[in-house]
């Protein structure tokens, strides 16, 4: 049996509910707005929050890009793209600058986002305070009271234990001087891109049933101490083995045969675009 799905998979009631939550999320930057989080044909924890946001946004004229850890072609990205295109018939692209909606897991693309684009981030753990406070009721209170000492203490303990802030990804950030937000597991390298972004950034957590937002031109400051500043991952003297790019987020690769370490752009479409430009020029 072939089911004729509604445009963008959802029924209109589900979209309306997400849309109402999204508008409130934009009005309160960084605050996690609860939403119903429908059952999706992919498992919770695999990007259902981002997917639901994308489906509530998407229209016939949109051009979609989906990335997973910087790659347009990994299983998660491909499956999400398939679901969206099969239920909407819209165009997909790999090129960041061409897309109107970019759904992403764990990265913000290297090419700066522009006004008119919407970045949708998939979030596994939207609660930055969950690490030390398991109760949702309690974390809601902590947010209400702007009581973030736990988040600071977590960073302080990391510095004490390891001599550095060891947040590999998902380094908490203060939004509009009010809410501490989990920026989704993007590397620290991408945190500064959230600050004064030209594009609207929406974050969706399907399993945890939360949406939140960073409107354009909003102050997003990664948590750090006066005497211990926030630092992004450094790739000093390292470059992409394929396209030669520097000052981008690199993946470390190991050559099994020679045992040598080499690096490659994490953002595959950025790398490919550079390679194409090189071969064209």
């Amino acid at each position: 049996m072939r089911i004729e799905y509604n445009f963008a998979f959802f029924d209109e009631g589900s979209k309306r509910e997400i849309r109402r939550a999204t508008l409130k999320a934009v009005a309160i930057p960084g605050y996690q707005v609860p939403f119903a989080s429908r059952e999706m044909p992919i498992a919770r924890g695999w990007g259902t929050g981002g997917l639901q946001l994308t489906l509530s946004l998407v229209g016939k004229e949109d051009i979609l890009k989906v990335i997973d850890q910087g790659s347009d072609e990994s299983v998660n990205a491909v499956n999400i793209k398939k679901l969206i295109t099969k239920t909407t018939g819209i165009k997909v692209t790999d090129e960041t600058s061409e897309a109107t909606i970019i759904q992403s897991r764990h990265r913000i693309p290297e090419i700066p986002l522009q006004a008119g684009q919407i970045l949708v981030l998939q979030v596994p753990l939207p609660e930055p305070l969950r690490y030390y406070e398991p109760s949702e009721l309690e974390t809601k209170k902590l947010h209400a009271e702007q009581e973030y000492s736990g988040a600071w203490l977590m960073l302080f303990e990391q510095i004490m234990n390891y001599g550095t802030m060891s947040t590999g990804a998902d380094h908490p950030a203060m939004v509009h001087d009010r809410y501490v937000m989990a920026p989704s597991p993007i590397p620290r390298f991408d945190n500064p891109k959230l600050n004064h972004s030209q594009a609207l950034i929406l974050l969706g957590a399907g399993r945890e049933k939360k949406v939140y937002a960073v409107p354009p031109y909003t102050r997003v400051e990664s948590l750090a101490f006066e005497d211990f500043s926030f630092e992004v991952e450094g790739f000093k003297n390292k470059y992409c083995g394929l396209c030669g790019a520097k000052e981008v987020f690199l993946d470390e690769m190991l050559d099994d045969l020679t045992g040598e370490t080499f690096y490659q752009c994490n953002d595959t479409s950025y790398c490919l675009q550079r390679l194409n430009q090189k071969s064209a020029g």
């Binding site: 309306r16 109402r20 409130k24 999320a25 934009v26 946004l57 609207l200 409107p215 354009p216 031109y217």
Partner: protein, 200 residues
């Protein structure tokens, strides 16, 4: 042509979202509003009606401020299944042009601003203005605005000070959506601050 409840409302939503995330940006929903040419236009202006159809359903409680409140509330209930309620408990409040200035003041003062645990439960107020434009009447700053943006909102009632007072304890506050007869939409989320008012 009839309003397409899937695609037209999607387009209207994206425009509203754009305006909500960039306060001062005026979007126009003429294409969508022109399609709601039903007899109910006499009651609810088309731009506001598109907002109602876009956001209201059985989960929503609303309040209408107008001389013809009863008729309009009944109509909205029939169209969307949303429930009419009092100002204090409404998720959305629709203030039409023929509402009394005192009533508007009461709306702003009594509308739910959310609470610290649930600031998202605050009311959204949809106001029918005479006109909205980017004339340099009010200066806006805040999230979504690069440096400053300028707006002019013509209404029968003054709202700037009332809103400022209501929204003085961020994250509590109300979010405003202005519509006008040219089907423009202008959004003022609670984060937007009106820093200066130029007289005249």
């Amino acid at each position: 042509m009839k309003l397409d409840l899937v695609h037209d409302l999607q387009e209207a939503y994206r425009k509203t979202l754009d305006s909500m995330s960039r306060p001062g940006l005026i979007s126009n929903i003429r294409d969508q509003a022109s399609k709601v040419a039903m007899e109910i236009n006499d009651f609810i202006p088309p731009a506001a009606l598109v907002m109602v159809l876009m956001l209201f359903d059985t989960e929503v409680k609303f309040k209408v401020c107008s001389k013809r409140e009863a008729e309009i509330a009944e109509l909205i209930n029939q169209l969307t299944y949303a429930k009419a309620t009092e100002i204090e408990s409404a998720d959305f409040i629709l203030v039409l042009k023929d509402a009394d200035p005192e009533e508007f003041e009461q709306v702003i003062n009594s509308a739910c601003p959310g609470d610290l645990h649930d600031p998202h439960k605050a009311a959204t107020i949809i106001v029918e203005a005479d006109s909205v434009s980017n004339d340099r009447d009010l200066t806006l700053i805040g999230p979504g605005i690069e440096i400053e943006s300028y707006i002019s909102v013509k209404t029968n009632y003054s709202w700037v000070d009332l809103r400022a007072e209501k929204n003085s304890e961020y994250p509590l506050g109300i979010d405003l959506i202005f519509t006008d007869r040219d089907t423009n939409i202008l959004c003022l989320p609670r984060t937007t601050q009106i820093v200066q008012e130029v007289a005249g």
